[in-house]
């Protein structure tokens, strides 16, 4: 499983997004389940899946899924497989 697939599975699981509606360019405003507890859940999921501990202010500032990829890539986690 590629990192992109792992991230997709994680985000669908955290925000309860159906496979048919998921897009990597989805923004926070489009996802009603992206609330404050969702941010915590997402950050813990990223740590579990990719080993990167996201700081709270970093997690809160994320506006869309693409930004998560950018953050993880900046930490050396590859998404161009």
């Amino acid at each position: 499983m590629t990192n992109r697939e792992k991230l997709k599975d994680l985000l669908m699981d955290v925000f309860l997004i159906e496979p048919s509606e998921f897009r990597f360019d989805m923004m926070r405003d489009e996802i009603e389940s992206w609330d404050s507890l969702g941010v915590v859940s997402m950050a813990l999921g990223i740590q579990e899946t990719f080993g990167y501990h996201m700081k709270p202010e970093e997690a809160v500032a994320i506006k869309g899924f693409q930004q998560i990829i950018e953050i993880l890539e900046s930490k050396g986690i590859k998404f161009d497989e």
Binding site: L16, E18, S33, D35, L37, S41, M42, L44, G45, E48
Partner: protein, 394 residues
């Protein structure tokens, strides 16, 4: 004062009649009550002289799991048995089959005492500990009344094939938890000729407060109207309080004695409200409604939503999340597939904020039950063979 054990009564039901007819107060106790002799001695020693004659005592653990002795006055209980006969339209009933432990207040008053007061036949079984005996008793039933709790429906399904029915059962009562409204099609298949009732009460009421014929509402939470001799109201925080001609005269637990006066309002431990037509709607046990991150969570309400998309059994048990906030775990039985899990999760997403979502969604082959047929939440919480299908990462 003495203890009469359930096993003695199973061997000879006359022992219970003798106890009822003798002056001395007795405690009617399950052989597997889990109480130590020390606890019993200590608690019984606190019972004052005024209750040592003409009373009876039953044990309840209530929703808290804390053992509690409930003291009833025999005259009051007999009056209740007469009232129940009338409001439950029991005149055509000739016998009653006991599926629940007789030490359970509901079975004790609604069946044993009812049969005694109204001159009906009492048929004891060992419940689903011996399903063959249950089957033959129900098959041979004639103009019979049965008292059940919701989880027994699953035991019927587990033990009896789809083509089995018990036409001799004419009255079927449910109590001890939410009325199984969404499973009425199954119940009616087994009991095609039964008039079905939702009974509501609590051990403190010894035990009945309301009754509703199943047809009077499609809402499981509708517990019906107070029976004659019972008054109900809501407290300021929404808890149901009652006064009853039949209520227990005293309650003992490890906090001591509570002896309500006739004019006192007694809490039922449930939230509820009076609705149109004089009916009462229950909103859940006071311990089933709680705040999570400031949001009010009602587990009965969540269960109603779950039942819209899941037809099997579903229960919640309580658990704190790692940040110390109260939360809840949803357990399904018997088995669940990925599609069903997704349907449930999408229901939560559409109808509720994340605070209301369960911490985890789990399944078990069988929901563990207490000896009185109610869900054993303690065991459920620590069972090792639960399958986890989804979790919030909190």
């Amino acid at each position: 004062m003495y203890i009469l054990y359930e096993n003695e009564v199973k061997r000879s039901i006359e022992k219970l009649d003798q106890a009822w007819e003798s002056l001395e107060t007795f405690l009617f106790l399950s052989d597997r009550s889990g109480l130590t002799q020390e606890w019993l001695n200590h608690t019984l020693a606190q019972i004052p002289m005024e209750f040592k004659e003409n009373h009876f005592i039953l044990l309840t653990s209530g929703s808290t799991g804390r053992p509690k002795l409930v003291v009833g006055l025999r005259d009051r209980a007999e009056k209740l048995a007469s009232t129940l006969h009338s409001v439950q339209e029991s005149e055509p009933v000739r016998e009653t089959i006991v599926l629940l432990p007789l030490t359970y207040c509901y079975a004790f008053v609604n069946q044993w005492l009812w049969a005694r007061v109204n001159g009906r036949k009492l048929i004891l079984t060992d419940g689903f500990g011996k399903p063959d005996n249950v089957y033959s008793a129900l098959k041979n039933a004639q103009d019979c009344m049965v008292c059940a709790v919701g989880p027994l429906i699953t035991l019927f399904q587990n033990h009896f094939s789809d083509d089995v029915s018990f036409p001799g059962v004419k009255r079927l009562h449910f109590a001890g938890g939410m009325f199984p409204q969404t499973r009425m099609n199954i119940v009616r298949k087994y009991f095609p000729n039964a008039r079905i009732y939702n009974n509501y009460g609590c051990a403190e009421a010894m035990p009945r407060l309301t009754v509703r014929n199943a047809e009077e509402s499609i809402e499981a939470a509708n517990i019906g109207k107070p029976i004659p001799g019972v008054q109900m109201k809501s407290s300021e925080n929404g808890e149901i309080l009652f006064r009853s001609d039949y209520q227990a005269v005293a309650l003992y637990d490890d906090r001591g004695l509570f002896a309500p006066g006739d004019e006192d309002w007694v809490p039922t431990g449930d939230f509820g409200e009076l609705i149109e037509g004089g009916y009462w709607r229950i909103k859940g046990r006071t311990n089933e409604v709680f705040k999570r991150y400031g949001e009010k969570i009602s587990l009965p309400q969540l269960l109603e939503s779950v039942s819209e998309v899941w037809t099997g059994q579903a229960v919640f048990y309580r658990e704190r999340d790692p940040s110390g906030e109260e939360g809840h775990v949803l357990v399904l039985a018997p088995e669940v597939n990925r599609e069903q899990v997704n349907a449930l999760l999408q229901m939560f997403r559409k109808l509720y904020p994340r605070t209301h979502w369960p911490l985890r969604l789990e399944s078990v082959v069988t929901i563990p039950l207490l000896h009185n047929g109610k869900t054993d939440y303690g065991t459920l919480a620590i069972m090792q063979d639960k399958i986890m299908h989804w979790r919030q990462r909190l």
